[in-house]
């Protein structure tokens, strides 16, 4: 049952063609830190990865497997011990505006209102410090404000929330604004580091749907890191499953690198589909190796029971 | 005095215990006024300012010496007294230094210029360093050993005026609280006798010659945290009333009244007798012959020559 689903996934067609350019490329990337006691801790070793424009890549794995490190390498926040990373055709040496970034928390500037937070990026792009005095900048700001207002209202903020400060609104609202803030710059790559992990399930689902819709609209390349299997399967077009680095091998433990089936329906519907649940089981099995987890077992039972009833 | 055991001997003779405590000068005055200690050495000016003006009736038992050059006005660049008004002068305000300065101006016909003097209150612990460290500080008024330190370190600094020109105006006294002296059990009187006896024995040693004198000087120098050389230098410019006779005679004579009047006028002018004291006569001084300078119902400082006389006649 599980193997069939995997095969299904592998031959499933999706919109992305193989002709779109490579957006993110990692070449033989190794990241290791010396430990205070002797020895090294290797997080990633000899990793090669190519991500094409428009892909929604989810990176899944347990804590410590290197998924956050991977994201930070692409971002430019961390440097590889050996190897190199290219984004948008150019080598990554520092954090710059090629990537949009949505972290799990602390993503907004606390001393600015929601609107001001989102306006920050485009204002910077428009002019330097001196240009701010000019009346042309003021005009630009007026137009920008309207655009941002509309965008935020569309994303689900109320008009009263627009002029509030981040600490006055809920986590869900903050993350919405954080996404808007990043997307305002229309970056080619969007990096999201466990962006929804701190939210309650309802908000989480709502945001997942919103993100998917945004992706459908503008097709940025998204690299989405999470440790939640369901979330990964619901959002992505491509799944990369990382396992903890094994001492003996000198290659990063990429357990899975597969395309995910195309879903046309909403998240809620998809969640209940058979395909989805089978996939999840499969991925979980891969993640935990041959041992079965209690979740696995429970799910298998559930599916079995449903099948029996149907 | 205490170290050499002289004091103990005299105290035992009179059956009392005398405890000697070391204070910083200003702190000792505070303790005396606060009635935490019974007797203290101080100058005549402080005896007026502090206990007398605060209403603590005090008696001067012993007139030890007067400053005969220990206090001086120092200046750079060959300045004269006439050039002082308008320039900044470093000194400890409201002490004998300010008194010395005013007397210097008065004696040189510059009394009217006194309000033009710009005084900068400088604590004595920092005065030497600050004066020497910066050539733009031209004038300072202070006492030995600081005077010696300055003059020895910088040849361009000259003394314009010193206390030898105003003899017997800056007196060092041993003062005891009058209520302690008048204790009903007589312990105050015994204390007065003991301390006077011990004092004149010690002074005889200091003023004399020979190994006993050297020992005494070394002991005193060590006790005041000074070197023997520096201490001798101070002794040189101190007029010691080394015999009880000379001290007693001075205290009973007319000169002391004249000098004390100068001092008390200074104190009153500078409101040192108290903010609300209406006239200089409100803090009165009683002399051995019974005359009172000021209102007789407001005597606060008494000069008592009886113990000095007893010491002179050997009746201690």
């Amino acid at each position: 049952m599980v193997l069939a689903a995997a095969r299904l996934a592998e031959i499933a067609a999706f919109e992305q063609t193989l002709e779109s350019p490579i957006e993110i490329a990692l070449h033989n990337v190794t990241v290791s830190y010396p430990l205070s006691s002797s020895g090294h801790r290797t997080v990633l070793s000899d990793l090669n990865l190519e991500i094409r424009a428009g892909e929604f890549v989810v990176v899944l794995g347990e804590t410590g497997c290197g998924k956050s490190t991977l994201l930070r390498l692409v971002l430019g926040q961390e440097f590889p011990t050996s190897g190199s990373i290219d984004v948008d055709g150019k080598r990554v040496t520092r954090i710059d505006s090629r990537c949009g970034y949505v972290p799990q928390k602390y993503s907004l500037f606390p001393d600015r209102t929601m609107i001001q937070n989102v306006m920050y990026g485009p204002e910077n792009a428009n002019t330097g410090w001196l240009g701010r005095i000019l009346p042309s900048f003021q005009r630009f700001r007026r137009d920008l404000r309207l655009e941002v207002e509309q965008q935020l209202l569309r994303m689900g903020l109320r008009s009263t929330d627009l002029h509030k400060y981040p600490h006055q609104l809920s986590g869900g609202m903050q993350q919405r604004v954080a996404i808007a803030q990043a997307l305002m710059m229309k970056p080619p790559v969007l990096l999201m580091d466990e962006a929804f992990s701190a939210l309650d399930p309802t908000t989480r689902s709502s945001l997942q749907q919103q993100l998917r819709d945004i992706w459908q609209e503008s097709r940025p390349t998204i690299l989405f890191v999470t440790h939640n299997t369901s979330e990964a399967l619901l959002l992505g077009t491509r799944l990369i499953l990382l396992g903890a680095h094994q001492e003996e091998s000198n290659r990063t433990n990429v357990l899975l690198d597969m395309q995910l089936p195309k879903f046309d329906d909403t998240i809620t519907v998809r969640k209940q589909s058979m395909e989805f649940q089978q996939l999840r089981e499969y991925v979980k099995k891969m993640a935990y190796g041959s041992s079965t987890s209690p979740e696995d077992f429970a799910l298998a039972q559930e599916i079995y029971e449903r099948r029996e009833r149907a | 005095m205490a170290k050499s055991g002289i004091l103990k001997r005299w105290a035992d003779k009179y059956g009392i215990v005398i405890k000697v405590q070391r204070f910083d000068y200003a702190a000792s005055l505070d303790a005396f006024v606060g009635k935490n200690i019974d007797a203290c050495t101080m100058t005549n000016m402080e005896a007026l300012d502090m206990p007398a003006a605060a209403g603590v009736d005090s008696t001067a038992l012993i007139i030890g010496d007067y400053s005969n050059g220990n206090d001086a006005i120092l200046a750079r660049n060959n300045l004269t007294l006439a050039q002082l008004p308008g320039k900044r002068i470093m000194l400890v305000q409201k002490t004998v230094s300010e008194y010395l300065l005013e007397r210097a101006m008065d004696l040189n016909g510059l009394g009217t210029q006194i309000p033009q003097l710009r005084l900068m209150n400088t604590s004595d612990s920092d005065l030497v360093g600050a004066f020497l460290g910066n050539k733009s500080n031209q004038i300072a008024v202070t006492w030995k050993p600081l005077v010696s330190q300055i003059v020895n370190s910088d040849q361009s600094v000259k003394s314009l005026f010193d206390s030898s020109k105003i003899p017997a105006e800056i007196l060092d006294l041993l003062v005891v609280r009058t209520d302690v002296l008048k204790r009903s059990d007589g312990s105050g009187i015994r204390f007065a006798k003991a301390i006077s006896g011990a004092w004149y024995e010690t002074v005889a040693q200091l003023a004399g010659a020979g190994s006993a004198s050297d020992q005494a000087i070394a002991g005193s120098a060590a006790a005041s945290g000074d070197s023997v050389v520096s201490y001798r230098e101070q002794l040189r410019t101190t007029y010691l009333y080394s015999t009880a006779k000379s001290a007693a005679e001075f205290s009973e004579g007319p000169a002391i009244k004249q000098k004390m009047d100068l001092v008390r006028q200074f104190c009153f002018r500078h409101q040192l007798l108290g903010q609300n004291i209406a006239s200089v006569n409100d803090v009165a001084i009683l002399y051995p012959d019974g005359t009172v300078q000021g209102k007789s119902d407001r005597v606060r400082l008494r000069i008592d020559s009886s113990y000095m006389r007893m010491a002179e006649k050997g009746r201690l």
Binding site: F109, D111, N124 | A26, Q93, R118
Partner: protein, 287 residues
């Protein structure tokens, strides 16, 4: 028996005293203090009616009047027909307040570079490497012991006193700002760079803007040490100033002037603190 429930209420963490109680209790210690002082004063005055160490209320009132209305003794006496405002402007207290305040506020202005240095140390790794170790060391030098050096370098006038304050409190402000800036979550800095910020943007528009309320609160805490250094400097070498006057008055036990001066200094410090708190609230509504 009725006492026990009350006792229980006092030691109860969950108790909710009524407004009347909280208001009146907060004044109790003031009254106790004044009462004790008065008893002391009366006792001393019984022994010695001219006692100046613990002045009576009449003496204190005199002292207050003298400070507020009389000129300093080194100044010329006033024209006796002068009006109240003229007398206030020419008074001892006003003269001292002006000169002390001038030194105080100049020193605060000179603390701004220390704050900026702390900010740069936190944001720019090279600045941190250069300054942190030395800054930590310099912070431990007791500024008062540097006073003789300050006299030589800056003279005995205003600047040595101002620099004493700056050297005393500057390192604290610098390290405090450094720690506050370092505590800004790294995510915001990263985010700022992805939003096309330059290095200057990150340092000033992102971090400095955020930490300003905390820095101002740090300054409020440092007002007392600042005043302490000011007073130390004034008591050692000065021609005027609040602490100078207190030092001079001390020399002849003028507690009737000293006590009003002390209370006035407390009022001033309270005022500056309140002003800073108000400014903080107004400028930084998000904090």
């Amino acid at each position: 028996m009725a006492a026990i429930p009350i006792l229980g209420k006092i030691v109860d963490v969950q108790s909710r005293p009524q407004k009347l109680w909280t208001q009146s209790l907060s004044w109790v210690l003031f009254l106790v203090g004044i009462f004790t002082y008065t008893q002391f004063s009366i006792a001393r005055h019984k022994e010695n009616p001219e006692d100046r160490v613990v002045p009576s209320s009449a003496q204190l009132l005199q002292g207050l009047k003298a400070s507020f209305l009389e000129p300093a003794e080194e100044d010329d006496a006033l024209d006796p027909s002068a009006g109240i405002t003229q007398r206030l402007a020419h008074s001892m207290l006003w003269k001292d307040t002006v000169s002390s305040s001038r030194r105080f506020f100049i020193a605060i202005a000179l603390l701004v570079p220390a704050i900026l240095l702390g900010l740069h140390m936190a944001v720019f790794p090279y600045a941190e490497a250069l300054f942190l170790r030395f800054g930590l060391f310099f912070d431990k030098i007791v500024a008062l012991s540097l006073l003789p050096i300050l006299f030589i370098v800056f003279g005995i006038d205003e600047w040595s006193k101002i620099m004493l304050m700056v050297i005393g409190v500057g390192p604290t402000m610098m390290l405090d700002t450094y720690n506050i800036a370092k505590a800004v979550p790294r995510e915001q800095v990263v985010k700022a760079f992805t939003l096309k910020s330059s290095n200057a943007d990150v340092a000033y528009r992102v971090i400095l803007k955020q930490i300003m309320p905390q820095v101002i609160n740090g300054l409020r805490l440092n007002l007392k040490p600042l005043a302490l250094f000011l007073f130390a400097g004034e008591m050692i070498v000065s021609t005027d100033g609040l602490a100078y006057r207190i030092g001079i008055m001390r020399r002849h036990m003028g507690m009737d002037i000293i006590i009003p001066y002390l209370l006035w200094v407390a009022v001033l410090l309270f005022g500056v603190d309140a002003l800073l708190k108000f400014a903080n609230r107004r400028l930084h509504p998000w904090f």
